[in-house]
Symmetry: C3
Subunit: 357 residues, 3 copies
């Protein structure tokens, strides 16, 4: 297994379960999401206990899934609640996955439900504060989710993959610093006195700042396992303190990346951007979302090509350069998490054996 | 093997071999169908003994298949008949499958040819009598053919899958009765004094009957192994005897289903409807065909989703409720048939061994 | 392995690497082609040693591949040359494949580079002489490359596969003669005093000859292993010496076929036609190319159907008739070549073991 299961993943956005169920495979599990009787989020195995039809092909009626085949009504607790002319008391229950709605996303815990504590979901300041605006999207990518983490923890690739939008030569020329702080990997790059690339010029204009003057630019990538990458990005008019410049001299955003494994070689990529300037300008929000969508689509071809190559040559070792330190240190945290999960699973299996004996 | 091979299956309709060969996989066998020298139906292995090209890519010339690659002329008996400049006497023969044209369909026997008796094809009254009109179509479905049998032997699903055409709440509320009579499973449901759903309203109008009055509705499903389901369906103006009402008070049809396995997880579904009212109204025939085609297409998504779930969780047991009795009893007949076929195959293998020794 | 690797194959045409890299799988190897620093052709493993991205997704800059992910600059010798802020001295090299540009094609040697001698590329007179005009195209076909050799070494199929263009009944009626001469198989057919089929009528008009008179027609197919088939084809006004007729009484071409294995069951088919009449008429060149493209597309369906049949019935033996002698003798040369290659590989492995011990 290359992904931990005892953790919270972003599963979908609220609009995807607006009045209808959504079937989505996460960490190898077929899951159906819908809004329950109290409007709460419910995540169940996507398998009707009657004849195995996917419940996601059915409908939602008064907060309960109704199987689209023979009308079995499934309770939010995974127990069949009713079915025309049937007594459902003896029906086998289906699996319930812990699910939470928070920060504008639906989160799911695909592993051991006993461990699922909503307090473990990382706090996201930008998602709660009125000082921030957010917009994003979803891509389905045929590559190991870890290749996306590598991608985001080394922004050198912007120069090549995103040359017409956010790439610029100075990214290449400026070394990064990478460090692990507890359960977080941070890799940062500061470029002083450069010209802003097109995407940032547009943002400067979006905040009523001149786009023809030198700027100080920064990128601070923060990975928290297993699959969140938040990137502070921005430019300030040169000489006003860069990252620390006052709000009226800079444009500043957080690139938001939730990377949710589907299988060992595919993932759901929830990308977005949160900004704290001109937050009520909806046209700007949409313009940024569109621009970012185009930029992030450029990564897809590279990652899927890389995945095909790695699948063809599984034994081949890759290089781990200083620019790769972000990805390398991220995988170290991931491996630690995976080892802990294996230990937990084994302990549980042994305890179960003891009970049986 | 999940399907018997020593039996007659519907392979195609005459229009599919009109002036050209047709290649179709049936029960795992690649078969080419065409019209032979006497106009008769011929079913051969779809493999040219010369270089292995599919004969179905060739042409039919004076009732013989001509390989589209090098012009080998294949006799209707599976023996090469001629080839430009060649002596074909020593060419290996290809397999001939017993095939019969009857009731407007081409039937094939994919198993032991020695057992193929055309008298075993079930009699279909509606296909021969001038009092009936028939029209239908063909769907290719990625699901075990037995899932389609289950589907058709439990019409409870109409309420959910076909809610806008033939479904109605009363189907759910009315219990079915299921019984096995010899080599047939019969499951029936009678709903008295209900309003007709849209499909039946249209049929009432098609027979110059009012569509705004209560009706008695019935469904009598008859399965004969391995794969025929005939369903008597109809509505009569309420209070005139229902199923037994006189012809001028009801509309009555037979839903015709021939379910032919392609592989273990896919099948050819020949669907249609025979009616005995207003049989010369071709516009009505076409209207019914179109309506039925839309209704039956709705089943496809459910069955293919169910198949994907069952393939993912092969060990999982499904429920067998009273509404499933039709499918369950049908599978019992099927299993008996499969056991008999295995016994026959083993006996034949032993006899062959004896001869060899 | 069904194809030799120690040999030259046509990999692509120059226009395919015009200003950009080309990724193409040949004999199971993922290869990237581009024009190097001196304008020479370079063939490298399509795998960036940094993180495994396909180099073919990158760009060519001053004759060097630049990885589209993080900007690694790959030297034409397979050694990383530079990368922003990195020392690349210790980077592992990637494989270099011998590649040559000649006769208007890019040739690659996918096997042991030590054996690659450009002098081994067959001489192609028509490609160098101003007396000839050439045009062609490329098809990607899902079939063992040897099925294409069989196809081209037995033109009997023209009567059936290409009945509306180059096929005619007399092909069938005229026996072929096949012989192996050293490293070449030659199969020939001469049809005297026949009417020209449509494709040849058009060519007669293209050379200002009448198209309504009987002609002598010939086909001389020459196979040289592993995968070249050159076919001399033409018609002369009847009674002027046929194949030997003076230039103003005939139209004469060479059908050019380079068949490059991609995998065991797929290949790249470079087809074309060289003619030595009316060579400056570009409209005629284009007309012939278009006509030939349509004719050769007709083979695709047959070969892919044949491949599916052979994959389904791998044990089945095919016939080897006199008309198949071209293919049969060609495979004999191929098998000899494959045996020699296996012997060479084993000797090399033993020598390597000795060195190690």
């Amino acid at each position: 297994m290359t992904f931990p299961k005892n953790t919270w993943y972003v599963a979908c956005t609220p609009d995807e379960i607006d009045g209808k169920p959504l079937g989505r495979k996460i960490c190898g599990e077929n899951i159906v999401f819908h809004r329950g009787t109290e409007g709460q989020v419910v995540a169940l195995e996507d398998f009707c206990p009657h004849r195995g039809a996917p419940l996601s092909l059915g409908t939602v009626c008064e907060g309960k899934l109704v199987c689209g085949y023979h009308g079995l009504v499934m309770g939010c607790d995974g127990k069949a609640e009713s079915m025309p002319l049937q007594r459902v008391g003896g029906f086998p229950a289906i699996r319930v996955y812990p699910a939470v709605e928070r920060y504008g996303f639906i989160w799911v815990w695909p592993g051991d439900a006993a461990l699922a504590d909503p307090a473990l979901i990382h706090h996201l300041e930008w998602a709660e504060s009125p000082d921030w605006a957010y917009a994003g999207g979803l891509y389905h990518i045929q590559a190991d989710y870890r290749l996306m983490i590598d991608n985001l923890m080394d922004l050198t690739h912007e120069t090549y993959v995103h040359s017409t939008s956010i790439g610029q030569k100075e990214i290449d020329e400026t070394p990064v610093k990478t460090r692990t702080e507890g359960e977080q990997v941070i890799t940062s790059r500061f470029m002083d006195n450069v010209m802003a690339p097109p995407f940032w010029k547009a943002n400067l204009r979006g905040n009523n700042l001149p786009d023809d003057q030198p700027v100080d630019r920064w990128q601070v990538c923060r990975f928290t396992p297993p699959s969140h990458v938040m990137i502070e990005v921005g430019v300030a008019l040169a000489g006003h303190g860069g990252y620390e410049a006052p709000a009226d001299k800079k444009v500043y955003s957080i690139v938001v990346d939730f990377i949710t494994p589907e299988t060992e070689t595919s993932h759901w990529y929830f990308w977005g951007m949160a900004r704290n300037f001109n937050v009520h300008d909806k046209a700007l929000t949409e313009q940024i979302r569109e621009g970012q969508g185009k930029v992030f689509a450029e990564d897809t071809a590279v990652l899927e090509g890389q995945q095909r190559n790695l699948s063809k040559y599984p034994g081949r070792r890759l290089l781990m350069l200083n620019i790769d330190a972000g990805g390398v240190q991220s995988r170290r945290l991931l491996d630690k998490m995976l080892a802990a999960e294996r230990a937990h699973d084994e302990a549980r299996a042994q305890a179960a054996e003891k009970v049986a004996a």
